[in-house]
Symmetry: D2
Subunit: 339 residues, 4 copies
């Protein structure tokens, strides 16, 4: 059995990691740590995780995390590099935070500020070449939730030269993506019954990550106009993505069918069926559809994911499976919880 620790166990990403790990056939759950919640029972924060309810959260230190085969970090950015260094290469460290996602130090400094901590193998196995880099890896940078949805929605067309490199994305998300932060605009009374855009105009930190993924996949610089929208649901991302069309409908569809033919978690829906986030709730699947708009000269792809599962914690477990040589799908649900 693989011994696993989770740092940041009282947050949403940590909770989702634990939900999945509890159902993983090859995993034993070890230390659970937290920041301000250290010393409290997990059950106070994650009442849905009954089998772990009486576990007491420890401090997030390398001493507590040491001695596990795998350590998941679900922490604020800026903290993982030091912890990983202290844990050494004997431990597989999977960072659900942003620290090691960007290759370009200048992009890091512009969007996050502070020094760049370097980059780790990027944990989106469905991107061209990514899976091989994750097999046997000792460090993994789990993608952001928006980049997961948007990159998978767009790369097949761009990589196949069927869409131009100026992409436009509006992605609508549930509020768990913001974590358990106590901010007025995340209060239930503000969120329910409201839609709001934020981080408009290229300032959202997931923008350079999407550009990095798509530029690499199609071998040419891609510009990304990205607008995130907050909607009244706990989980789910629906990414509405488009790009200038340079092929025909059949070729576009064929590119997606080919790109995802062997992917266990990415499903190109039957023609005419559009994704719903509800169908992905709690699952590691991506529901995808693509079409072309000849009048507007654009191809449009829509992807739906659960931001906490495939968008973060499920993707992280998938990467663990790959890094450890376990079956890639172990412990990961294919079916959503609906309605």
């Amino acid at each position: 059995m693989v011994q696993v620790a989770v740092a940041g166990a009282s947050g949403y990403v940590g909770g989702e990691l634990l939900r999945l790990l509890l159902a993983h056939p090859d995993v034993e759950i070890g230390a659970l740590t937290a920041g301000g919640n250290a010393g409290t029972r997990l059950g106070e924060h994650q009442p849905h995780l009954l089998p772990l309810a009486d576990r007491v959260l420890q401090e997030t230190t390398s001493e507590v995390l040491a001695g596990h085969d795998v350590v998941f970090l679900a922490l604020p950015h800026g903290t993982s590099a030091e912890l990983a260094a202290e844990l050494g290469d004997g431990t597989l460290v999977i960072d659900c935070g942003a620290d090691h996602r960007l290759v370009d130090a200048a992009a890091w400094e512009r969007w996050y500020g502070g020094a760049h901590a370097g980059h780790w193998p990027y944990g989106l196995p469905e991107l061209p070449g990514a899976r091989d880099a994750l097999r046997g890896a000792r460090r993994v940078a789990v993608p952001g939730c928006y980049p997961t949805a948007a990159s998978l929605a767009l790369f097949p067309a761009l990589a196949a030269g069927l869409a131009g490199p100026e992409v436009v994305i509006t992605a609508v998300t549930g509020t768990s993506g913001a974590g358990r932060a106590l901010k007025p605009h995340l209060l239930g009374a503000e969120v329910m019954g409201s839609l709001s855009a934020y981080g408009v105009g290229g300032v959202h930190r997931h923008t350079p990550e999407i550009a990095q993924n798509l530029s690499k996949a199609c071998g040419t610089p891609v510009t990304v106009s990205f607008t995130p929208v907050l909607a009244p649901l706990p989980r789910g991302i629906l990414a509405s993505c488009s790009a200038p069309l340079s092929g025909d409908a059949a070729a576009v569809r064929e590119a997606y069918a080919k790109a995802y033919a062997d992917e266990p978690f990415v499903h190109l829906l039957p023609e005419g069926t559009w994704p719903t986030t509800a169908a992905t709730l709690g699952s590691n699947t991506v529901h995808l559809q693509v079409t072309v708009d000849a009048d507007a000269g654009r191809m449009i792809a829509i992807a739906a994911i659960d931001n906490l599962t495939k968008g973060t914690s499920g993707g992280a477990v998938q990467c663990m499976n790959l890094a450890l040589g376990l079956p890639e799908t172990a412990g990961l649900p294919f079916t959503g919880v609906a309605p």
Copy 2:
């Protein structure tokens, strides 16, 4: 007092019309009609409209509607032309449906099918030249809810030559926009906790209407890539709109400030503040913000409205005010109901 009848009083648009008309200082509410619900009390369908609860719905016929100064039609498309002809020019007919929105008969036939009923003065007073055409009009075609949001979000930049004519719109909406239709995907259990796209790829019927508005406003053909997204809230549209940038940020902002300086219902928010649909709930206001993304070379505008108020019924009452020479803002709320 102006005598007003509402056809389609048991639906969402009819209900919102009546809510506004009850608070209108110059209006007396006359006949209320319905289709299948004729013969029932209004209170069964609109329990929020207490003062009208005991009114019995009549059949939607020109006999019942005749004799009023104003008749609002909140009916399925394809029915208003005949009713309007029977009512004659003595009656101001305000059609909340689609029949007379499109100027181009070919566009009508392509997106709606059947014969084009012709076009009426278009009821979006904030578009260039539109207000004058509405003063004294005897017929008004109320815009669709998405076209209201998207056209107001985009035309100032396009008309000023600060953005190119290939626009991309993803607009997220509450479910009342679909009316009271009994369809499985509109059930609460399906809607709550889910986001879904529909009518993707230029097939939504509001696409040609948006193109018509923007093309006219900027004097050149505009192509529209439009993706509507259904989200779990009863009311509200958040339109995320962008276009290739051909000016600078200051000029763009100035264009919007100028376009809406004297508009009572369109509010360009202070810089850095982004619209929320909750702030517009039940009001006739549009909350708007605009920015530029230099990296992506696009200008982005976000508009929030209540799809039933400014998006349909409030816009309709605003048009009635203009057509009758009443104060344009009479009976129309500026403030939303929040949280």
Copy 3:
């Protein structure tokens, strides 16, 4: 015009007061104050209140509040007595908080702790005798939201001797009732998709207030089993209330019809129709229905209100109208915003 100040203008109750006061024909809005938000624009906190968006919030002091005809206090409990004393009897002080609701000092100390500040005329005009005490009053204690719904649902049967004095109440509420407090369980991601009980077993502070109202109305001590439930909606209370039956269905119905025959804001629905909170959204109305369960030997009454309107701020404005001799319904909506 009546000059009005609002203390606590950046919270939900303050915002709802201002929404109503903006539409009040006899009111001019003066000073707006806040605690931690003093010095900021109102528009940052209440973007729906466009006409006041640029008002800057002042400190909550008696100096700032002095000189107005009416001061509404929407403050944490424990602060109103001192402010009111400083303002003097020349000012009508309407306290939306709890400080002066309870007559019994021992009950105050048990449920709130600290010294009892005394009691003021109780602002629920529909209770027997209450309206007269409010005419010309200089101080008003606005009821809690649950006591408003539960007291109006129950008193007619109890006062008429048709139901016994051991009442059981489960009241479901939207999350704005908790105010803008930054607590994890009020985050949108926690609230949406969840129902939860809290303050179970008589510990909720509204329990003694309900008991006080019902005991006074029926002239005998009433015991109250009260369970509040939090549900995923911004506004609304649905109070499910029952008591041992000691009359028949017709007599019960007659008691309610009689009690509310002349009340502008309390509506006994037609038989067989049950209240929905949506029908009351943003209005000052109470929707009420009553029935008997002969098998269980209980009468059951269900009341729906908007917790921020009739439940707090609307009730407060209604009291202001009474205290100042204005028409009781001035500025108060009868119709809800639905769907």
Copy 4:
């Protein structure tokens, strides 16, 4: 492997059965049938069940259902007796509908109308004596969702003589409990932002079922005042239950601790912690808390379940496990999906 068929596979209960059965280690999914949806792909109705998406729904006939070890019926009431008779005793028939829940034919006729089809072993294993009757059973009547929550919340106190037999229940539910019925009041736009009571006054069909369970458990007739409330969430029941208190707090708590000490799916939460339905989403667990209100002389118990899982389909699978001699918890999730 156990061969299983599901009749009514396109509805919510059928979909939840299939979600659970897909994860069950001992089950192979055979025929899937439907009524009006026969002939269509399951994926059209249950897009979350990817592994079964291309299965075509067959007609609900005994010919199609024959030859399976287990047949789950998720059908409208009135249809299961005939189907079960045709299938014979060789097939384990588990009826998720109401037909065979009530022992008392008069109660059946009063609440459902028509002839009573007789009663089958009642599928709530946690009730005293129920588990034994389910082991090896060939027919199972799955309880209603409300009776599951309310019976488990109340029976330990009643059976122990710590609470009197006049119980009062207000249970709040998500809208999937009403099934996929196309009714206006179940539309998303009506449901979101609203709370409503229905079936008030003892007329809801689950009333006699709760009374039957509690009367049997405590050996004396129990009267039930039951009020269901519809709230804006897809899944979840929170049952607020109370009864006259005839013991003390410690004894009450002890009775619950004892009743559920060995139950895998019923969790008495730590003192001071109250259940949330979110913690049970998609799981077969019941979260329970109990307290006493000395002032009101009542004991209060609150239970949270997922109405589709433990409330129906999960309970049904639990009964299948018992009937077939499989581990009772096989294929049933303990952890909810939250937030």
